[in-house]
């Protein structure tokens, strides 16, 4: 199946990027482990879907593929939440910097014209 090849190629790509990010110290070892587990399980579910069904049934989901979709959505929401909070923090920091600069600039100009 072509879709399987695409998914596996994509996973290899993402995993390599994750590892590069880790080596460049952009992400922590915990993040590396979590993402590796996540993407590996996607790979397993892609390659041997039947066997993952057993695991899914243990937690009350019919198919392994479905379980993966549920987990993905939860992970996505969590990541979006983190990004939104982080953006808000960055925007507050920028505000602080711009405000400080604006007030200082005014003071500087006043002193200069004195």
């Amino acid at each position: 199946m072509i879709i399987k090849i695409f998914i596996i190629l994509f996973i290899i790509f993402v995993l390599s990027r994750t590892f590069i990010r880790f080596r460049a110290k952009d992400i922590t070892i915990q993040e590396l482990v979590i993402w590796s587990i996540f993407w590996s399980s996607v790979a397993i579910a892609t390659l041997i879907p039947r066997q993952t069904d057993a695991l899914a049934r243990m937690v009350g989901v019919a198919r392994g593929a479905d379980l993966l979709v549920y987990i993905s959505i939860i992970v996505l929401f969590f990541v979006v939440f983190k990004i939104v909070v982080k953006l808000e923090k960055i925007s507050r920091d920028i505000t602080k910097i711009v405000r400080h600069q604006a007030l200082n600039d005014k003071e500087y100009k006043d002193n200069e014209s004195r």
Binding site: K89, V98, A102, D105, K106
Partner: protein, 223 residues
């Protein structure tokens, strides 16, 4: 008693000069916070005799107000008035707005266009503002007739207590929330809004209310 007028301005070059000239007749200290305008707002404001502080980039009205308030407090303000830069507020109303502060009755005075019959508020805008009032009531529990009115006055005490963290238009609801949280005494006084094609075009629209709602929610979870 030193009174400072704070005017947040974003691309108001065509009208800010006139607004300042009108204000000069009644008040001495005017600070325009040029919020990263891409036109000649700063030049026009300086030429009209206001103190101008410029944000490097556009942050939003809430951020501009806080910068102006910081500046006024640094410059020994006893009373801080916030005033719109688009010409919709009347200089003649200032006296009524600051009177309760001078008398020491309250800490914050909020202008309300709905307490006076001479404001001709367009229907759609009236509905939008009523809705904002309802949201504010649910959000803060305070009944204010006109939440999104930029004409306000703060005592030094109130200005030091209130910290506007909402950079965008949600600051209006945030101010009410902080009045409540900081236990500040407030009063609404009637003011007249003069709607012009210019102020209506620059004013808020329906889509903005969704953004305000979103900003308030995000502000809550990331505090």
């Amino acid at each position: 008693m030193r009174i400072w007028v704070v005017i947040p301005a974003y691309n108001e070059a065509s009208i800010i000069g006139r607004v300042i000239k009108d204000l000069k007749a009644g008040v001495e200290n005017i600070v325009v916070v040029n919020d990263g305008s891409t036109d000649d707002t700063a030049m026009a404001a300086t030429a009209s005799g206001a103190v101008v502080i410029s944000h490097m980039i556009n942050l939003g009205q809430g951020a501009a107000l806080q910068t102006g308030i910081d500046f006024a407090l640094k410059n020994e303000a006893d009373i801080i008035i916030t005033f719109d830069g688009d010409g919709q507020h009347q200089v003649g109303d200032i006296e009524n707005v600051i009177k309760p502060l001078i008398l020491g009755e309250v800490d914050v005075v909020l202008g309300s266009r709905f307490l006076v019959s001479s404001s001709q508020v367009p229907t759609l805008r009236r509905l939008l503002l009523r809705f904002a009032t309802l949201v504010t009531k649910i959000y803060t529990g305070l009944v204010v007739t006109d939440t999104h009115n930029g004409f306000r006055a703060f005592s030094k005490y109130a200005a030091e207590k209130i910290e506007i963290r909402q950079n965008g238009m949600a600051h209006a609801s945030e101010i009410i929330e902080q009045i409540k949280r900081q236990n500040l005494k407030f009063k609404e006084v009637p003011i007249t809004i003069r709607y012009t094609a210019y102020s209506l075009a620059k004013g808020q629209h329906l889509g903005d209310s969704f953004k305000i709602f979103w900003d308030l929610i995000i502000g809550r979870i990331s505090r």
